[in-house]
């Protein structure tokens, strides 16, 4: 198998994730798109690990998986807090920091 087919697939998934983060208004859907982007990065890491014939790619993707789990836990807690304070999770309306 070519290295590039995995890298191209990861690039496509990453760009779809970027679209989701930019175009979605619902905070939970934005978190899902971020998971998509992290997943694309994991495919890249594993593909380069197989290409370079060592385990470092697998080790780093395990770290990325652990950090993504922590990130989604904290992210959902924050989304829950926004929901409790404002009764919706539209990110367009969470604009307290706008000047």
């Amino acid at each position: 198998m070519m290295l590039n087919q995995f890298l191209m697939l990861a690039a496509v998934l990453f760009c779809i994730g970027v679209y989701g983060v930019l175009a979605r208004k619902n905070a939970v859907l934005v978190l899902m798109s971020i998971e998509l982007m992290l997943n694309a990065v994991n495919i890249n890491l594993i593909a380069f690990g197989a290409f370079r014939d060592n385990v470092i790619g697998q080790v780093f993707s395990l770290f990325v998986i652990a950090i993504a789990a922590a990130e989604v836990g904290i992210g959902l807690a924050i989304v829950l807090l926004i929901f409790r304070n404002r009764a919706n999770i539209d990110l367009d309306q969470a604009d307290l920091m706008k000047g």
């Binding site: 198998m1 697939l9 979605r24 594993i46 770290f63 998986i65 993504a68 836990g73 904290i74 807690a77």
Partner: protein, 163 residues
């Protein structure tokens, strides 16, 4: 080699299709199910790349925990379960242009840099090698990651509890 390529293109088509539906669907619960499809096919990709341990970690952590957590988030924030038109903001076309340009840039760069490199699968990487690397060379990042998980746990409880 041919069978591997067939498996790759089947899973890649499923992943890209599910990912596109994930960012365009009007139903939040369906978006979580499309995410599960993408994550499961990613585990298949890891098996194609001879990384079985990471593949099963992916199934356990992502499909078993993260998707369930996201569904809990959908439930607790009382997101509309049925069809809903107000999930997207007004930047849809800008976002599409940005992501298409990013894809073009990445694809050009990747085909320039790694045009015809093959993955050869020389030495077989066993799970024991992965654990040797984690608990040997990378033991300090491993410990830092475990402290980070503890901090995230405490932080999530502290943020989400009601008082």
């Amino acid at each position: 080699m041919v069978a591997e390529n067939i498996a790759f293109y089947l899973m890649a088509a499923a992943m890209v299709g599910a990912a596109v539906r994930l960012v365009t669907t009007k139903n939040v619960v369906r978006a979580a199910l499309f995410l599960a499809i993408v994550l499961g096919a990613t585990a298949g990709m890891f098996i194609l790349l001879a990384a079985e341990f990471v593949a099963w970690v992916q199934v356990l952590v992502y499909i078993g925990a993260v998707v369930v957590l996201l569904l809990f988030g959908v439930m607790l924030t009382r997101a509309p379960i049925g069809k809903e038109s107000a999930l997207d903001n007004d930047n849809r076309w800008t976002a599409a242009v940005v992501s298409v340009f990013l894809l073009g840039a990445l694809a050009t760069m990747l085909s320039d840099a790694f045009g015809s490199q093959e993955i050869s699968f020389g030495r077989i990487q066993r799970t024991a090698d992965v654990s040797d690397a984690i608990f040997g060379t990378y033991v300090i990042p491993f410990e830092v990651a475990s402290v980070l998980l503890l901090a995230a746990l405490v932080g999530a409880v502290a943020l989400a509890r009601r008082d």
